[in-house]
Structure formats: C-alpha cells, structure tokens
C-alpha cells in the first residue's frame, strides 16, 4: 500500500516537473524554429512550431551580410584574454588572503567584497569617463580591462575558499624544501585548486561573452563590436518590422557555445554555486 502510494507520488512529481520543464523550454524551441523561417512565416496563425518551408537563409544572411565573423572573434578574444587575466590576478590575491597573515588583511578583503555589493551599473558613467581619459574608448583593450576588473571580487572570493581547503602541511613541506611563495602558489596551490579554477573560468568566460552594457557604452565602431551588440543591431536594422529570423539565427550562433560549455561543465556550475554560498 505504502509502496504504491510512493510510486504514485513519484509519477505525479515527474508529471508536474515535466509540464514545468516544457513551459521553460518552449521559448527556446520556438526561437530555434523561428530562426529557420522565412520572414513571411514568422507570424502565422496558428504559429508554426516546425518551420515549413524551412530555410537556412537567416543563418547565411547573418554570417555573410555583415562582419558577423569579426564580431564572433572579437567576443572570443575579449572573453579569453579577460578570463585568463582575471584568473591570474584574482588567484594571486586569493592565495595571499588564504595563506598569509598580514596587516589590513581582513579590511582589504572586505573592501574587495564591497565590489560585489556595488551595483555594476552605478559605475558605468565614471567608467566611461575613465576609459575616455585612458584613451580606451572604443577598443577591445578597454573592454578587457573593465571585464577583468568586474570579475575580480567574485573570483578572489571563490578561489580563497578553494585555497584554504588545501592542507597547510603541503605548503610547509614545500617551504622546507626551499620553495619560495611564488613557486608554492604556481606549482602547488594552482594545480590543487583546479576545480575552483575551472568554476571561475566558466563563470568569467560566460559573463564576458554575454556582457552587454559596458560594450554598449564603451564601443562604437563596427570593428570593435561584440556579439551581444551585433545582435542588438540586427534587431534594430529594419525600420518597420524586426527581422526575427535573422535576430534569432544570430542569437543561436551566439548561444550554442554557451550551451555546450554549460552542458560539458555542468558539474562545475553546481560546484561554483554551492561553494559561493550556503551550506545549510
């Protein structure tokens, strides 16, 4: 009796979850399907879920009509370099916070955490002026600088936790062997904190890949555009009707890498969330 109840409860649970999951996923599927539609078939009643006729014209147009490949590469370059720099710099800070005692340690750490609390967009005006003064307006270098800066606080916070979970005895053993701090950081701490570094890498890369507001504010010319800005421009191109098929084709191209990274590194996503927060 009890077993049957449990089985029924379980089935109900799965049904409820399935319905909710379908609601969550329908917008994505509809976007995918629209990206294969000709403009005249985008708004039909009833809506087409399977495009008929299906066409890859939107994808061709997205890739050919403008510098889409360039935007893609810009996004890639900015995200890769910013992620690499951010991880290097923040892991060094995290190592200092995890392994040394020094004056102002906790104050400095708290000031850094303040960076998590300041609404990023509050800084957009002064950062725009700073970029202007540093001659970094409308350049990929400027984007990289601000993306690294924006991710420092969170990454340092995350990595400090990982470094602290490495037994101090290992450090001391290496020290006895005459290894200096840099060597201990580079050869011991970094390799042992790989899961933490993986987590930070994924989060930082995706944040840079998707960043919109800073790119919107700091860049201007076509050769410095990143993908999110390009998608926005696609949507704004036609004066009358938005070419939804084109917008979504470009969106799909931008989203596919994200979803692949997410699916492959799912484990690290969960780890990143849980180590960033809350254990009971």
């Amino acid at each position: 009796m009890r077993k049957r109840n449990a089985a029924a409860g379980n089935a109900l649970r799965i049904v409820v979850l399935s319905i909710l999951a379908i609601i969550m996923v329908i917008p994505f599927l509809y976007m995918l399907s629209t990206s294969f539609k000709e403009q005249t078939f985008v708004f039909t009643n009833p809506p087409q879920f399977i495009p008929d006729p299906a066409t890859t014209a939107n994808y061709e147009q997205a890739i050919e009509s403008s510098d889409f490949v360039r935007y893609f590469l810009n996004s890639l370059v900015v995200a890769v370099i910013a992620t690499g720099l951010s991880l290097l710099v923040s892991s060094m800070m995290a190592y200092a916070f995890a392994r040394f005692q020094f004056r102002f340690k906790e104050i400095l750490f708290r000031v850094l955490l303040l960076g998590l609390m300041i609404p990023a967009i509050m800084l957009i005006i002064p950062q725009f002026i700073l970029a202007k003064n540093l001659n970094l307006l409308d350049s990929l270098l400027g984007l990289i600088l601000f993306y690294v800066a924006g991710s420092l606080a969170l990454n340092t916070f995350l990595l400090r936790g990982f470094f602290e979970s490495i037994p101090a005895e290992l450090d001391q053993a290496m020290q006895v062997d005459g290894a200096n701090a840099w060597l201990r950081y580079w050869k011991l701490a970094l390799p042992l904190a790989k899961p933490g570094l993986a987590t930070a890498t994924i989060f930082t890369f995706l944040a840079c890949w998707d960043e919109f507001t800073i790119a919107l504010t700091l860049t201007n010319s076509p050769e410095n555009r990143t993908l999110p800005i390009a998608i926005q421009l696609f949507a704004g191109q036609g004066n009358n009707a938005v070419q939804w098929g084109l917008v979504f084709a470009a969106s799909m191209i931008a989203v596919v890498p994200v979803i692949i990274v997410f699916l492959v590194f799912q484990r690290y996503f969960v780890q990143g969330l849980t180590s960033g927060a809350v254990k009971g």
């Binding site: 329908i26 800070m93 040394f100 609404p119 005006i125 002064p126 101090a168 504010t217 969106s251 254990k279």
Partner: protein
C-alpha cells in the same frame, strides 16, 4: 560617508551569509619565524589585483558620488559647475524619477517572490536523486546561462502583437481576445518584463536551494518522522530553519538584482511607450548618455545604490531576528 559605512556592514553581512571563507589556518611557528624576511610577499601577490580594483572600481565609485554634486561636463575644456545637492533635489521633484522608481519597485515585488517560491518548490520536487534529476536540473537552469540580450529579444518576440503569448491566451485558452499590445502599455509592458525576469531567474534560486537542501540534517527529519510530523510540519520545523541562510541569501541577491534590472527593459520596451516602463537604470542611462547630463545620471545611480544598501541591511536584520525566534 555614511553610505560607505553601511555598505561595509552589508558586505560583512553577506560575507557571513555566504560563509564560504573558513577561519584562516593556524600559523605554524616555522612560518612565523620566516615571516619577517618575507613581509612584502603577500602585498606583492595582492598588488596587481588591488591596483586594478582601486583604479577601475573604487575610484569610479567615489567619482560617481562626486559627479552627482556637479553639472558634470564631459567635454575636455568645459568646467563642471558645483551644484551641491541640486541634482538630488531635482530627482525628488522629478515626476519621471518617481515613475521610474515605482517601476523598479514593481519589478522587484513581482519578480522576487515568485522566484523564491517557485525556485524552492522546484528544488523540493527534484531534490530526490533519480535518473531524471540531472535532466530537469539542466532544463530549468538553461535560461540562467543564456545571455540577457538573447532572452530579452526572445521575450519581446513572444509578447509581440502576433506572438506566441497572444496566441496562447487568445486562441488556445480564450482568456483574452488575443490582441493585447503588451509592450505598448505601462502595466502590460511591466508584466512582460517581469515574466522574463522570473523565467530567467528561477533556475538560479532552485540551484541554491538544492544545494542548501543537501545540508538539511537527515537525523532531524527522521526524528520529526518518529514524532509523527506530517510533510508540512516537517517542512516548517526542520527544512525551513535549516535552509534559512539560503533563503536570506537568495532574497537579498534577488532584491539587489531586481533594482539592477536594465538590459531587459532597455531592449524589450526601451522604457517606452513615452518612458512609461522606464526603470531607474534606463532613466539614469538616458540622462547620462542621451542627454549627456552625467551629474543627474550619477545622482540617480547614487540614490539607487543607497536604497539597495539600506534594503539589504533591513532585510538582514529582519531575517536574522526571525531566524533567532524560529530556530529555538
């Protein structure tokens, strides 16, 4: 200044909640003997990051405050005029500021509660280890990792006149005529924007709650079972107190996030029609980068920041007090 101080308190509070930083390891004697020789080492490790942080985050923070007291001129030669509190006075007598503020508030109220309730509900439903669990986890989390730009256009499309929402509500469910011009009106526009906020966010709160639920002591649940507690009582007496820090964390983060809503409004309605769906940040952005009124834009940004800090402090207090009462 007071603002900065309350900010520090907030960050300290959040740090506690996050509680991912264990106490520093005890120092061995050998290390402390060598410390004198290597006193500079930690600062060398910190220097690149801290310098960058100071230049690109701390300094701009202070400058945002400073600019808010000026009629700030961005052009090199023009001198900025000191206005004192004029920009703030202007904000408080500016009807459109109040409209934008109330829209931000509405967004917050309409998105935070559903994300917590639905997120927690989902977490409870998929908590049990089963072959389907990873699949559901991925599906619900997918909107979280997808770019704001992409999903903003996606929802603009879904809520457009001939879009899927009108079809579903009109032709399928017959609750409307199916011809609602969602994005052409303040309230329906805000509903569409909020729908996106909830849809994109529940996966995140679900994940945090899932992690927290793993920490609920099994022994307590069994003890409650022995005492004949039903499912609801078990949830109330055991689960909620155990995951209280997570609930606090999620709430504070969502409130902060709610006030920071920008991209979805900017891209879905552009604040329109006639600025009726403007939130604080779209209004700030327009003042700064369209009207080139950087001083006024900064004042709006500062007001927002102060409100977010104060709200976080209040929440932390309220939640902690209630926690103290509830846990005993």
């Amino acid at each position: 200044m007071t603002v900065l101080r309350s900010g520090e308190r907030v960050s300290a509070g959040v740090a506690e909640v996050l509680s991912a930083t264990p106490a520093p390891p005890s120092r061995s004697r050998r290390m402390s003997r060598r410390r004198a020789a290597t006193a500079a080492t930690p600062y060398l490790f910190l220097a690149p990051g801290l310098v960058l942080f100071a230049v690109t985050v701390l300094y701009p923070t202070l400058q945002a405050f400073q600019m808010s007291f000026f009629d700030w001129k961005i052009v090199g030669s023009a001198t900025s005029e000191f206005l004192g509190l004029d920009n703030y006075a202007r904000a408080f007598t500016d009807d459109h500021f109040w409209l934008a503020l109330s829209n931000s508030g509405i967004y917050m109220v309409l998105t935070v509660a559903p994300q917590i309730v639905i997120g927690l509900g989902l977490a409870l439903l998929i908590q049990k280890k089963s072959p389907t669990q990873p699949l559901f986890r991925v599906l619900f989390y997918l909107p979280v990792v997808t770019s704001w730009v992409v999903v903003s256009f996606l929802f603009k499309f879904l809520f457009s006149d001939g879009g899927l929402i009108n079809f579903a509500l009109g032709d399928l469910l017959h609750v409307t005529n199916g011809d609602t011009a969602w994005l052409a009106d303040r309230w329906t526009g805000l509903i569409a924007i909020c729908a996106l906020g909830v849809w994109k966010g529940i996966g995140w709160s679900m994940m945090i709650f899932l992690a927290a639920l793993q920490g609920v002591p099994q022994a307590l649940i069994e003890a409650a079972n022995m005492d004949g507690a039903n499912r609801w009582q078990r949830f109330k007496v055991v689960t909620v107190p155990a995951i209280w820090p997570a609930i606090l964390f999620v709430t504070v983060m969502l409130v902060i996030g709610g006030f920071n809503v920008f991209i979805s409004v900017y891209l879905m309605t552009g604040g329109g029609p006639a600025g009726r769906t403007d939130v604080l940040l779209t209004y700030m952005y327009e003042q700064a980068f369209n009207n080139l009124d950087f001083g006024y834009g900064s004042a709006i940004a500062v007001i927002l920041t102060i409100m977010v800090f104060m709200l976080s402090v209040v929440q932390m207090k309220v939640f902690r007090d209630r926690n103290g009462g509830g846990a005993q």
